[in-house]
Amino acid sequence: MTSLALLIPIALLMGMMGLAAFFWALRRGQFSDLDGAAARILIEDDDRDAP
């Protein structure tokens, strides 16, 4: 029982952190361009000065 009293709050806290992170991401517009996010991985960053 004593372990439960510790584990349940920990589990809830971690879950809440995940939920808070999701809401933060939602508000910051991370989900507004899902197609673009998928394509962005293919852009090479280092050819800015290439011809």
């Binding site: 879950g15 939602l26 507004s32 197609d35 394509a39 962005r40 852009i43």
Partner: protein, 711 residues
Amino acid sequence: MTAAALPRAPGAGQATAPVHTVMVVPAMHCAGCMAKVERTLGRIDGVVSARVNLTARQVDVAHDDRVCVPDLVAALALIGFDAQPRIDLAEPVSAVRPLLAPLAVAAFACMNVMLLSVSVWSGADGPTRALFHWLSAMIGVPAIVFAGRPFFASAWGAVRRGSTNMDVPIAIGVILATALSVHETITGGPEAWFDGTLMLLLFLLAGRALDAMMRDRARAGVDALLRQAPGGAMVVDAQGAATWRAVTDLAPGMVMRVASGERLAADGAIVCGASRFDQSLLTGESAAVPGNPGDRVLAGTLNLENPVDVRVTASGQDTSLAEIARLMAVAGQARSRYVRVADRASRLYAPVVHTLAVLAFAGWLAAGAGLHQSLVIAISVLIITCPCALGLAVPVAQVVATGALLRRGVLVKDGSALERLAEVDHALIDKTGTLTFGRPVPDAASLDMLHGDEASVALALASHSRHPLSVALTQALGLRGVRAVDLTDVAEIAGRGMTARRGAMVVTLGRAAGADGMATALTTPGNPVRIIRFADALRPDWHQALARLRALHVECAILSGDNAAAVAEVAQITGLPARAAVSPADKQAAIAALQATGATVLMVGDGLNDGPALAAANASIAPGSASDVGRQAADLVFTGVSLLAVPRAIGAARATMRVVRQNFVLAIAYNLLAVPLAMAGLVTPLVAAVAMSTSSLLVIANSLRLAGTIR
């Protein structure tokens, strides 16, 4: 995830906040396009950052006041992207976004409550169970209130109007289950239903989110095209100075100069110059109409030959274009009364479920059970019959079908479109631009007539002109592998055609005097005059497409605004019954007449003149080359050239509805098994949770089969 454009060091004393401009760039479709657009814009002096949104085909540019919009458009034009600053017509709101937060909350709460429930099911007892129930209630009640809002709001809206929909039984079930669970928790009872209720909400929200995601994605492509700024016209004032005015700024009395190859932005009368006009967008008429000083010309028509000055007589809301838009708005209202299949199912389903619950309550009370036990059993009947699998039955099947169609080049703009399309038994097909390409294609026989290097001369001459016939000729000869010869002194004489020198000889390509229909004449030294005829060619695969439509038992007919002769020719080739010279209002009336005989009508059309008909028909399809109005009014848009997209879409819609019906049968069969258990008082929260997830998985698995069957 860094923006490709690095922030630039601001110049001394320029600490002003950057301005944001949103540009629509419809041609972007891959990572390469994104990188090009972002880098090109980022290199402009004064641009702070550029960030592409690929889903919306837009780029958000942050810049200071040294940069103006034409600079950005020009920079993008240099790398081959057409761009327009976005005009904010009521921005279509994303349907998914408001569902994401409830979905996340339901998922979080469901997982945590389930964790606690597993301990209860495996035998936690006494104070431990009470503690777990209290914890579940603390997580569950706020989560249910938040995540259930979309259902409560929709159910309340339906009840207030005195009707019912899918959300009414859901809302009643959820509220009663939550109230019972809270009561059980307070009184220390053995069973709480927070886990099942949250799982129900989670599955239903997932179904809704899928449905919304499908609509968002299909609309994005079409909206990107529609959101481009409207055209304008070069307005000439009394001093002869020309300025560019947007359509909204045009007023009657102004004189606009319309170059050859340009579309008219307003209705008007020709002041000077004579030309021929292509009215096919407006009327479906394929032959060019001559226009002389004093003649009336309409907005949306294409000037084919000479520059003309036109005095504006009507602009904006008064043009014949706007009249068509008004017809469409009225026609669209009928379609909004369509009741979607899920709501139709729940109209039958909800009364049965509620009757069963009441019967269970009354039965147990009569059999001598206590009030509390009878209530628990009645509520467990409601929970077990809550249309969880029903909520997934339609959206999952439609999402899978829409995805499969999207990969085959058919955009579905609305979930109910597939349902309406599946019921279609008559198809009315527009001629110009739908059955045909809507642009002139040189007749193969007359191209075969060209001997020796005549074809090379024709290509060399045609390639210097932007006249539609020249463009078509250049394309056709290029496809035949013809190489252009070298010419000197090439000149285009407005209204007459092209002339040039080949060595010492003069060659010309121009108006074919005396030839009927669309034709051009080629004169070369030492050869007779060659007449090259043009016709509006039928789309490839029209034959298979019509055969497949017949196999689907869809009766086809042609409904065209073009003249009787042109329509009769196509009708004879295709063997379809046809009506010619039909005005936009008459097209709408023809559809209404068919519908009155009990037919379900599909309209396939592209032009502005088809707009009202597209909106009035039970379902509608437009080719991707259609006018903005056509694309906006149609339920489905196909991007390829092949007409096979039409039978494919109908076939896919019918396959989808078959799967939807199978899903309903699966969901109801599960209820037939579970309801007797629930009414006998044997259903525990564990049984409910297992049964609910199994039936949902079954429905999803059945829907996924669609991906393979759509060809």
